[in-house]
């Protein structure tokens, strides 16, 4: 079956978009131009020009290879054998009416509906997220909208004008130029401030599954508050996943679904040490962790080598401005940090915080803002 060259090329761009590579219209056009230059019959040149025009980060390259292979190398009449990437979705629990009623019963005798609501949310703020019913969780989700994270600030090398501070020689000169070179007013300047980067590392392994939803909602608040420019979110499990892009959507439920589709190792095991090393090698040491506030949300159940975890945490602390460890179990009665993972990591953390209820998340936001 023969096709037009344009059809083949643009069809390929569409297939690539369907596979999750953000191919825009202009990129597709660039690709057609490039192919016209190298010639479609040259399979290898076509491959490289597509890679240059359609991909924009290393994560795209694998997908590109798969789609390219499937599109250009398929044998007519035979089914394609390239296995699709497995993408488990988030399991959403069933919201039954019964539970909603059960939650509502104690408040029925309260005459003032507003106060009833207030006291209910107040109680909810201090409840353990893991022990909530589905209806309570739904209410809790709406409460997350009230969390307004502020980013910590740092001094920059750039100066900004100010009414006191040190003398701004350049601006003083520039202004004196207006008076024919006669120096008059002195201009002053001081060091500016910029938001410090915040990196959230969220454990989504099986033992944390009860808290993952709440923690991701919190992460979403962070990303949305800043427009995603100084906040980066990763999930930790058996592997590391960068989910900032998914969380950039304003609507929290959509953002969470998008994040769920990105994360391949939902509710799996944890290899904290190894995943942390991948984070530091690929992102952290290059500058993402450098001078930033890193928040690790995990219960510290480590399946792998705890010595490695301790080593990587030490590395992280050397790079980062502050390392915070959030453990959902910390706020519970009788908790002792005896799990091997936590014990190995704790010496390298600046703060050890609880993270099981809305009130503790408020606290976390405060700590981050002043880090």
């Amino acid at each position: 079956m023969a096709h037009d060259a344009d059809e083949i090329v643009l069809g390929f761009a569409r297939a690539l978009r369907a596979a999750g590579v953000p191919v825009t219209q202009d990129r597709a056009q660039e690709f057609t131009r490039a192919v016209a230059l190298v010639g479609l019959d040259d399979r290898r040149a076509t491959y490289w020009s597509g890679r240059a025009t359609l991909c924009s980060c290393p994560d795209d390259l694998d997908r590109y290879d798969q789609v390219f292979h499937a599109w250009f190398n398929h044998r007519d009449g035979l089914p394609r054998t390239v296995p699709s990437e497995e993408q488990p979705r988030v399991v959403t629990s069933d919201l039954s009416e019964r539970e909603e009623n059960a939650g509502g019963v104690p408040d029925q005798d309260d005459g003032d509906p507003v106060r009833a609501m207030a006291s209910r949310t107040e109680r909810l703020r201090h409840r353990d997220v893991a022990a909530m019913s589905a209806a309570e969780k739904r209410l809790l989700a709406s409460l997350f909208a009230r969390i307004a994270p502020r980013l910590p600030q740092r001094r920059t090398s750039r100066h900004q004008r100010w009414h006191r501070g040190t003398i701004d020689a350049q601006r003083t000169l520039r202004e004196s130029l207006r008076r024919m070179g006669e120096p008059a007013d002195l201009a002053w300047r001081r060091r500016g401030t910029r938001p410090r980067r915040v990196v959230l590392l969220i454990d989504v392994s099986g033992s944390m599954s009860a808290y993952a939803d709440a923690l991701l909602r919190l992460a979403h608040r962070f990303v949305v508050a800043d427009g995603g420019r100084h906040v980066d979110v990763f999930t930790l499990g058996t592997r590391l996943t960068h989910i900032t892009r998914a969380l950039r959507q304003r609507d929290p439920d959509r953002a969470l679904i998008a994040a769920g589709e990105t994360v391949p190792d939902w509710s799996g095991g944890t290899r904290l040490g190894e995943v942390l090393r991948v984070f530091l090698d690929r992102w952290g040491a290059r500058g993402l962790a450098r001078g930033s506030v890193v928040v690790v949300c995990s219960d510290g159940w480590e399946r792998g080598d705890t010595a490695l975890l301790g080593e990587q945490m030490a590395r992280l602390q050397r790079l980062a401005h502050r390392v915070l460890w959030v453990n959902p179990h910390r706020g519970k009665d009788g908790y002792l940090p005896v799990q091997q993972g936590v014990a190995a990591a704790l010496p390298h953390c600046d703060d050890f915080l609880a993270g099981h209820s809305l009130a503790t998340y408020d606290e976390l936001v405060e700590v981050v803002a002043h880090a």
Binding site: R33, A34, W48
Partner: protein, 311 residues
């Protein structure tokens, strides 16, 4: 274009890069070819030390064009990238005009101020202040003016995202406007190479303007070829041993910072300058500082070398 014709096909790009001592492969040559023909900026990403900056230098050398380099850093802004006025000289100039005008006014004392001649004089003085000679052309403006040129925007990921927006503007039209002088437009667009170490994600809008290429660590044969072409003084035997060790180290996953090609070259040269024609444990561990830059890595590599030499 320039003193050298733009290459006609991919093979020619590979050859002319090879002539300067830069060993490319098919993928890189294709991307460079497309960048030259489509007149698009080239965005190179990859591990540090894989030859991103060297590629720009090689293109400039091969096409016999000047290389203009803009090193990005945090807080860089338009006055450092585009142009700035030379304020001290402007003031000096102004003082000079004043002095001259003063002596003239002393000679013809009748028409001191407000007369018909004062206005044009003032305008002239003002105009002469914003003359080309007080304009400090920074790399981007320089590249647009000297147009057939290679503009290297190095480590663009270090600059702030506001600066990216500015770059985007220049790269899409290849022109800038200076209010006091006018618009400067490149006769032929310069060849633009941007490099990034991926310390942060670049903005999509900027990426869209560019051709993207990820430079990986080279394989054994290609790295050997690079070593031969860049450091011909190193003996064949030593070169092969060095590259084998480095390739081996890159395969391990316990190094904090696996060595790049730049480190390979440094190490080979260091060994060579100690007079080694073959790799031996003593010289190797003495020169290890050229290869790995962390103490932990140094210990690990020393152990690995021990085993490799024994085996």
């Amino acid at each position: 274009m320039g003193n050298q014709q733009a290459p006609g096909d991919v093979g020619e790009v590979e050859r002319f890069l090879g002539k300067t001592g830069y060993v490319s492969d098919e993928s890189l040559a294709t991307v460079v070819f497309l960048a030259l023909r489509m007149q698009r900026p080239l965005l190179l990403e990859g591990e540090p030390g894989t030859g991103k900056t060297a590629l720009a230098e090689a293109i400039a050398e091969a096409m016999d064009l000047p290389l203009i380099r803009l090193q990005c850093y945090e807080g860089i802004d338009a006055t450092q990238a585009l142009y700035d006025w030379d304020f001290p000289r402007q003031i000096l100039h102004l003082r000079a005009i004043e002095a001259v005008a003063g002596t003239q006014a002393g000679g013809a004392s009748g028409n001191a101020s407000g007369g018909p001649t004062a206005d044009p004089m003032l305008q002239d003085a003002e105009k002469s202040l914003y003359d080309e000679r007080f304009l400090l052309a920074r790399p981007v403006l320089q590249a647009l003016r000297e147009s057939p040129a290679v503009l290297l925007v190095d480590e663009v990921d270090r600059a702030d995202d506001e600066f990216e927006a500015f770059l985007l503007e220049v790269l899409s039209t290849y022109q800038v406007t200076i209010p006091e002088i006018g618009t400067v437009k490149a006769a032929t667009p310069p060849i633009v190479v941007l490099t990034s170490n991926r310390t942060r994600e670049l903005h999509d809008a900027l990426k869209r303007r560019c051709l993207y290429h990820w430079i990986d660590h080279p394989g054994l044969e290609r790295e050997l070829e690079i070593l031969r072409s860049r450091a011909p003084e190193v003996s064949e035997e030593l070169a092969r041993q060095v590259v084998t060790v480095v390739q081996n180290l890159r395969g391990r996953d316990d190094l904090l910072k696996p060595p790049g090609v730049a480190e390979t070259l440094d190490w080979a040269r260091a060994l060579e300058s100690l007079g080694a024609s073959e790799l031996d444990l003593e010289t190797a561990s003495a020169t290890l500082g050229a290869l790995v830059k962390y103490r932990e890595d140094g210990d690990r590599v020393r152990q690995a070398l021990d085993r490799m030499m024994a085996g």
